[in-house]
């Protein structure tokens, strides 16, 4: 069977679910960041697959995926800076212990 758009969409759905699973089970804040990266990559695969199969002349999907990469880099930088700050103050990065502003 020839590889079509459906294959790529299903693969990206699978990757997205794996990322969601990791996001929900992990207690370590670093692993949560990594799971978010997996989910963003799943979305990027969708964009590039659509650009290839639906819109091969004006490749809007590829441009959009590049923007997503830039935003993901920004998100990781801010997230890691926040985590290091929290670690410096509390010497702990268990996500369940970040409850000081919970009411």
């Amino acid at each position: 069977m020839e590889i079509g758009l459906t294959h790529y969409l299903t693969l990206s759905a699978l990757l997205f679910s794996i990322g969601l699973f990791g996001l929900l089970i992990s207690r370590n804040a670093f692993r949560i960041l990594m799971s978010i990266e997996i989910m963003l990559n799943a979305v990027n695969i969708n964009f590039v697959a659509f650009a290839h199969y639906v819109d091969p002349l004006a490749i809007k999907g590829q441009v959009f995926s590049l923007f997503i990469m830039a935003i993901a880099a920004a998100e990781v930088a801010i997230g890691l800076a926040l985590l290091l700050l929290i670690y410096r103050n509390r010497v702990n990065i268990d996500i369940a212990s970040f409850d000081s502003i919970k009411w």
């Binding site: 969409l9 759905a13 997996i38 639906v54």
Partner: protein, 187 residues
């Protein structure tokens, strides 16, 4: 001929297996640094998909930004927060609790089944025909080499505003990260 066609789908399946195994390994590996390095495998094989989809520039950016840049930064941050006292209870760190794991499994399985149901229920051949992709299918190889220059053209013409906004965002992030990670902000 049929054999050759089935042969051309091998790279896709090999890359899929590598990607899925690496992302699962990232989630389940109790050692955080090893999990970060497993992520490199996932990102590199995802860039292989971009090569298969003839998106060469996106594939190279994927390797440069994700597989090297982001993973490196995450692994360095993990090493900065080396949690020595927690090495003994690493296993507990991965799986929150049994009920929560089951809950997460159910939620992600539901998401996957919902997404794949929606994907299967669409008639993609008609959609690609309507938008004229198959009409240009023979042209794709010719366009292929021009994708990179076309991306540059689009970014500086049609998508100039988002492009400049991204540069402002990166500047703001740079300043924000420096301020956040500085000691003694109040002084």
């Amino acid at each position: 001929m049929e054999f050759l066609e089935s042969l051309s789908s091998i790279p896709f399946y090999v890359l899929s297996v590598i990607t899925v195994l690496c992302s699962l390994g990232m989630i389940l590996n109790p050692n955080l640094v090893r999990a970060g390095f497993t992520l490199i495998g996932a990102f590199a094989s995802i860039s292989g998909f971009y090569f298969l989809l003839s998106a060469n520039f996106v594939a190279v950016s994927q390797v440069l930004i994700y597989a090297v840049g982001i993973v490196l930064v995450i692994v360095f941050a993990v090493m900065l927060c080396s949690l020595k006292d927690e090495a003994s209870k690493l296993q507990e760190y991965v799986f929150a609790s049994r009920s929560k794991t089951v809950f997460a499994l159910v939620i992600s399985a539901l998401t996957f089944s919902l997404l794949s149901f929606v994907i299967q229920s669409q008639d993609w051949e008609t959609i690609t025909k309507l938008t004229g992709a198959t009409k240009y299918a023979s042209v794709i190889d010719m366009v292929d080499e021009k994708y990179t220059s076309q991306i540059g053209y689009l970014m500086l013409n049609k998508y100039l505003l988002p492009f400049e906004l991204i540069s402002i965002l990166l500047l703001v992030v740079l300043v924000g990260v420096i301020i956040l990670s500085k000691k003694n902000i109040s002084k």
